[in-house]
């Protein structure tokens, strides 16, 4: 059965048909969520929530690119996660011990995931890009991931974010310029082919 047939069957309530669509698109949605959120656990949750939401909203699908429609749902799910994190920061400023007293030692302030030394020696381009994407505003991030990482054209990206084509074009250019600025800080860490600043000749 082709994609249109599976969608039609899923709209009628056939969960098996929808699960075949899930298998076809789960990598795409997981990649989008991972690039947006920057961590795997949140990406898994967002992907699962997006598929559940897609099944419930399937009757509102009005044709067009089904891929873009799914990407729009997972992008919105990531936006919801950003808002949730903003409302409830993960790390409290002053953690409490078992007796509900503030921990006075500054040791808790250390970031266990990354030390300054580790950041300095980080040469992996993936990490550099992850860091730079994380610096972008979510609206810019979603567009640059859709076009440059996921490979959507402008029209599909416009459908995925629910904005006009001109907005996509503008946000994409700004996002690329900001990424260029950010990645230039990793110039020596990046492979020669990716270095943005030409080395000055002696």
């Amino acid at each position: 059965m082709d994609e249109a047939g599976l969608i039609h069957a899923a709209v009628q309530g056939d969960l098996d048909s929808f699960n075949r669509l899930v298998l076809a698109y789960q990598d795409l949605l997981y990649n989008q969520a991972y690039r947006m959120l920057g961590e795997p656990q949140g990406a898994e949750d967002a992907t699962q929530d997006a598929f559940i939401s897609a099944y419930r909203k399937l009757k509102s699908y009005r044709g067009g690119s089904f891929r873009a429609w799914l990407l729009r749902i997972v992008t919105n799910t990531c936006y919801d996660e950003f808002r949730r994190q903003k409302r409830r920061p993960i790390a409290p400023l002053a953690p409490l011990n078992q007796d509900d007293e503030e921990i006075e030692s500054p040791r808790w302030m250390a970031d266990p995931s990354e030390s300054p030394e580790e950041a300095a020696v980080r040469s992996d381009i993936r990490e550099a890009l992850k860091h730079c994407l994380g610096e972008l505003p979510p609206d810019f991030r979603s567009v640059v991931i859709l076009v440059d990482v996921q490979g959507l054209d402008y029209a599909e990206a416009a459908q995925a974010i629910g904005k006009p084509l001109g907005t996509v074009k503008s946000r994409l250019a700004r996002a690329r310029v900001r990424l260029r600025d950010c990645l230039s800080g990793f110039g020596e860490l990046l492979p020669a082919a990716f270095r943005l600043v030409k080395e000055s000749k002696p």
Binding site: G13, L15, F18, N19, V22, L23, Q26, D27, L29, Y30, N31, Y34, R35, P40, E44, T47, Q48, F51, I52, Y55, R56, I125, R126, L129, V144, V147, D148, V149, G151, D153, Y154, K169, S170, L172, A173, R174, R176, V177, L179, R180, D181, L183, S184, L190, A193, F194, R195, L196, V197
Partner: protein, 289 residues
């Protein structure tokens, strides 16, 4: 690193790399690229940035994200749906049975039963005054009532009601005439006081002969008519006119009157029909979910 380009220049370079410019815009930008080295450097920086982005490997999903019925809340609906569908089918079968039962049973036997019951009740109504009196006139009334009841047994149900009404009115008129004659006779009596026992009673109480669609009395049953509220009492004042005695009073119309006028099987038929329709609506709703 290029710093002096405007946002419009960056947008044009970005769209140029994605081949999103029109032919005219493209030609104009390519002319500028040949003349402006900074613009060309900016284009190269954007191209490399895109290469970095596009070089990212596509990650595989760590596990399958297939949905289960529990995740989307289908379990309860799936469990309920067959039961509701079975109930709808059973309700439909019950409706068909009651529908044909109404046609065959009530349609054939119901008419005969009604004809047999109507004269009986009418005779009971007309026989009431006779129980209290031994007067010759009362016997005459009984005879008339029996005649009317015999007549009414021979006609159809619908006509029966009208016939009985007419007969009652005539009987009441006769009674009134006789009473008036007796009054005049009593007044002509030499020196007899008015307190002497009257010859004929005054009918007090107002029987309300409301009939249902089958000619059966709906409010005045034989039991009611035999009760003290509808008895004849002897009184020296005979002011009540017989015409007013049998005057019909308006019967309030409502669901209870409507239902009381129907056979039980028809009420059952309507209830089962409503149940069947409701069940099929529930089946349709669950199926859409």
């Amino acid at each position: 690193m290029t710093k002096n380009l405007s946002l419009r220049d960056w947008e044009a370079l970005s769209a140029y790399l994605d081949d999103q410019l029109s032919r005219k815009q493209r030609a104009r930008l390519e002319g500028r690229l040949q003349k402006e080295p900074e613009l060309k450097a900016g284009l190269e920086e954007l191209r490399r940035t895109m290469v970095v982005l596009q070089s990212q490997p596509r990650l595989r999903a760590p596990h399958n994200f297939m949905l289960t019925p529990d995740m989307v809340g289908l379990t309860r609906s799936r469990r309920v749906y067959p039961a509701v569908r079975l109930a709808a089918v059973l309700a439909s079968i019950m409706f068909i049975v009651t529908f044909f039962g109404d046609i065959f049973f009530v349609g054939s036997l119901g008419g005969a039963l009604q004809v047999a019951r109507a004269p009986q009740s009418d005779a009971a109504i007309m026989a009431i005054p006779v129980e209290k009196h031994d007067e010759p006139l009362a016997e005459m009334m009984l005879d008339e009532a029996e005649e009317f009841s015999l007549e009414s047994a021979e006609i159809e149900n619908r006509a029966l009601t009208e016939e009985v009404e007419q007969t009652r009115t005539e009987a009441a008129t006769q009674i009134g005439t006789i009473i008036t004659e007796q009054e005049s006779v009593a007044e002509e009596g030499a020196g007899e006081p008015m307190s002497a026992a009257p010859l004929f009673p005054t009918i007090t109480g107002t029987p309300q002969p409301a009939f249902d669609v089958y000619g059966l009395p709906a409010t005045a049953t034989p039991t009611d008519l035999a009760s003290p509220t509808a008895t004849m009492t002897e009184s020296p004042t005979t002011t009540a006119t017989p015409a007013a005695v049998f005057q019909n009073t308006p019967v309030p119309f409502g669901i209870s009157q409507l239902v009381s006028g129907m056979p039980v099987i028809r009420v059952l038929e309507i209830l089962v029909a409503i149940l069947a329709v409701g069940m099929w609506v529930a089946v349709w709703f669950l199926r859409r979910r």
